[in-house]
């Protein structure tokens, strides 16, 4: 038998050598399979956990140990999870809007003007985005909890930093700072490719420079704007560090999904099935966004990569 197996292997090897396409194809499927498995299995595992009744949690296999789809409803009755999602969405959307507007101005300047120090300044921006958030968490925390005295006015008293803790600003400000550099970089690449003539035409036709930026340059850079926007939104939505530390975790204090998930952890028991169900629900907005925008993201990322 081993002889014929050896023959089969030899046959397969010789076929592959004469026709390398087969090998590439096989490798492609293997790699894709591994990749899909590693990315999708956690979601499957979440689903299994979510469907398993809380009492059967001890003994979970590859299939749910029981069938309890009510968990997907219970997540909303036990805690106002939809409000946590809403907080996340609001913070994500507002941050994205701020980043896009500010990064557009920066991208316009970087992409369409030649000025001294342009490259170094760009590098500084990009470097900032790679700072570990933990490095400035403590100073920021003190700043946002009104613990920093800016100056003392005689007769009035001290002027302290504003109290942003437990508010959206405490998250949106650091997010904007952290995620804007990448958006600036993407938009710079795109805006620099819009021909000068179009901007000139818009200005002669009656736009100011800002008008030309928002009515001509931005629409023509739609893939770039979409890419920057989606990447920013996903980054904000996924962010854990500031979301966890800049609020006390109550939903009325702008706590995000992170806190929503943690709230299924009671003092005596942790409802893993509810946590899993909530996690799946929390992923849905991003999944929808990526499916809708993926074409633009891909074209945006690659066209940005090919030019410059």
């Amino acid at each position: 038998m081993s002889n014929s197996e050896g023959n089969a292997l030899q046959r397969w090897a010789s076929r592959s050598i004469s026709n390398p396409e087969r090998t590439y194809k096989a490798l492609f499927y293997v790699l894709t399979g591994v990749f899909l498995f590693t990315t999708l299995f956690p979601f499957y595992w979440l689903l299994v956990l979510a469907l398993t009744p809380s009492g059967n949690m001890i003994d979970v296999g590859l299939l749910p140990n029981g069938f309890n789809p009510e968990a997907f409803v219970t997540v909303f009755t036990r805690v106002p999870f939809h409000l946590y999602i809403l907080n996340s969405l609001i913070i994500g959307v507002v941050t994205t809007a701020i980043v896009l507007v500010l990064a557009s101005f920066a991208g316009y300047a970087f992409g369409r003007f030649e000025f001294p120090g342009r490259r170094p300044l760009m590098l500084v921006f990009l470097a900032i985005s790679y700072f570990p958030p933990a490095a400035f968490l403590l100073p920021l925390f003190r700043l946002f909890t009104a613990n920093i005295t800016f100056f003392t006015l005689p007769g009035v008293g001290t002027v302290n930093s504003p109290m942003l803790f437990n508010g959206p600003g405490a998250m949106m400000l650091p997010y904007t700072a952290l995620f804007m550099p990448l958006a600036i970089f993407i938009l710079t690449t795109f805006y620099s490719q819009i021909p000068d003539g179009l901007e000139d035409a818009a200005r002669v036709e009656g736009n100011t420079r800002f008008g030309a930026l928002f009515k001509v340059i931005m629409p023509l850079s739609a893939p770039g704007v979409a890419t920057a926007g989606v990447l920013t939104f996903i980054s904000v939505y996924n962010e854990f560090f500031f979301a966890f530390l800049m609020t006390d975790g109550r939903v009325q204090n702008w706590a995000t999904i992170v806190w929503g998930l943690l709230s299924y952890q009671g003092r005596y028991a942790t409802s893993y099935n509810l946590m899993a169900a909530a996690s799946i629900l929390g992923v849905i907005p991003i999944a929808i966004l990526v499916v809708v925008a993926q074409e633009k993201i891909v074209s945006g990322l690659t066209s940005g990569a090919l030019k410059e």
Binding site: P195, G197, A201, R203, E205, T208, P219
Partner: protein, 447 residues
């Protein structure tokens, strides 16, 4: 109204001076062309009028209003760009109406104006097309419609026809002139193509190295160029330049001498170095002289057909004959043809855009080739006619003299009868033999 005035306008980029102390007064309703070789500052001048570039110093007036501090949108101008610059994400209607919508016009008014403008450029049925669904000529017409729809006082056009193919270019040229008549607005038009400048403008501003060389009607630039650069730049094929010096009887070059009528040279001293300029169409075969091909002599127009006054015959040897349809360009060497052939030396041949060098340097002393343009001879074997010895004469009324050092014009025409060109024009005869770029084309829109 639509006056545009450049007052001491200078534009410097770092250490390069793009435009040097430009003074231009453009009157309402004029069609003025800024023309010159690449990098002469003509586009920069136009962009300064548009407000897209800020002058380093000087004042700019539109409608007698100082506009240097106004953004482009407040200058009552419209612009047509070389690269057309239609907004690719908008259809024709949106492109044309863009400026009107920004100015909050009523919807009905916008519709009416867009319809009118589209009709003027014959694009009525295509208002819902996107720019990438149209041909180059159609896009250019939309760009023009976008400019005229706002009914501005001044149109600025930066080589609007440069990206079109030759046939369409000539067509659009005519269209633009018709439009100019209908709109009765001021047009400032930039081109490096002297032919376009000649045919379309009421006045031409010839620029070189950022400086204005001459600002005159096309025919004046043609017949009375202020200096060697303008003489070489305007007219195609370009003028012949031969170095010479002033003598007691007239002007002498290494190859020939020309009589100059008494009094024409005024107080120019004897011995002064000058450059003799003569256009190819002002050179004729001497009376009795002929060009032969292998079938024997072929009839050609000679000095007998000339209106002006012939010079003494000059011995030349033909080197190359180029038939171009309504003309034959004959390159000839002075003398019996034993000298080295140098057909393509600067100053004699080449398209107009290459003439910068020629005008700067003039012909070097002893330049021995001459370009003449003759009426066509049917059935002539141009190859066989090369290397023939013959005699030519210059029309003395049409010979220009330029200062050998500065290049400034000294006289136009070596006779007292009248200045160059004047003689022909005074007699009211059409100047026919100037090639397709000649002044005859500028006098009629038909071409």
């Amino acid at each position: 109204m639509g006056d545009v005035t450049y007052e001491d306008i200078t534009k410097k980029y770092d250490d390069v001076t793009a435009v040097d102390n430009l003074n231009l007064e453009i009157k309402d309703g004029e069609f003025v062309t800024l023309v010159g070789p690449s990098g002469c500052g003509k586009s920069t001048s136009l962009e300064m009028a548009a407000g897209l570039t800020e002058p380093t110093s000087g004042n700019l007036y539109i409608n007698n209003e100082e506009v240097s501090d106004l953004p482009p949108k407040d200058r009552d101008i419209a612009m047509v760009f070389q690269n057309i610059a239609l907004f690719p994400h908008m259809d024709v209607y949106d492109n044309i109406s863009y400026g009107l919508r920004l100015r909050d016009f009523e919807k009905e008014e916008i519709d009416r104006r867009v319809e009118e403008a589209a009709e003027l450029v014959q694009m009525s049925g295509m208002l819902d097309r996107m720019p990438d669904e149209m041909s180059g000529g159609q896009r250019q017409r939309v760009a023009i419609a976008r400019a005229i729809v706002r009914d501005p006082e001044v149109f600025l056009m930066d080589e609007p026809l440069a990206n079109l193919d030759a046939k369409l270019r000539v067509h659009m040229r005519t269209k633009l002139q018709e439009l100019h008549k209908q709109l009765d607005a001021t047009i400032i038009y930039v081109t490096h193509n002297q032919e376009e400048a000649m045919t379309m403008s009421s006045r031409i501003a010839v620029m070189n190295h950022g400086e204005l060389q001459q600002f005159d009607a096309p025919l004046t630039c043609y017949y009375r160029p202020t200096n060697e650069f303008v003489a070489g730049f305007i007219g195609s094929p370009s003028m012949n330049f031969i170095d010479g010096r002033v003598t007691d009887e007239g002007v002498e070059t290494d190859e020939f001498s020309l009589d100059v009528d008494d009094g024409v040279l005024g107080d120019v001293e004897t011995g002064k170095r000058v450059t003799v300029g003569v256009r190819p169409e002002d050179i004729y075969l001497a009376e009795g002289a002929d060009i032969e091909d292998d079938q024997g002599p072929v009839g050609a127009a000679d000095a007998a057909d000339m209106d002006g006054q012939p010079s003494a015959p000059i011995d030349v040897t033909t080197t190359v004959l180029e038939p171009v349809g309504d003309d034959i360009y004959v390159y000839a060497e002075f003398g019996d043809g034993t000298g080295e052939s140098s057909v393509d030396d600067g100053g004699i041949s080449g398209p107009a855009t290459d003439d910068e060098g020629a005008a700067d340097e003039g012909g070097p002393m002893g330049e021995s080739t001459l370009l003449m343009s003759m009426p066509p001879i049917p059935d002539m074997d141009t190859d066989a006619a090369e290397g023939q010895r013959t005699q030519v004469v210059l029309d003395r009324t049409m010979v220009h003299l330029f200062d050998g050092e500065t290049g400034d014009a000294i006289v136009h025409g070596l006779t007292t009868e009248s200045g160059a060109g004047q003689s022909r024009r005074n007699r009211g005869e059409p100047v026919e033999r100037t090639g397709q770029s000649g002044p005859s084309a500028s006098e009629s829109n038909a071409r």
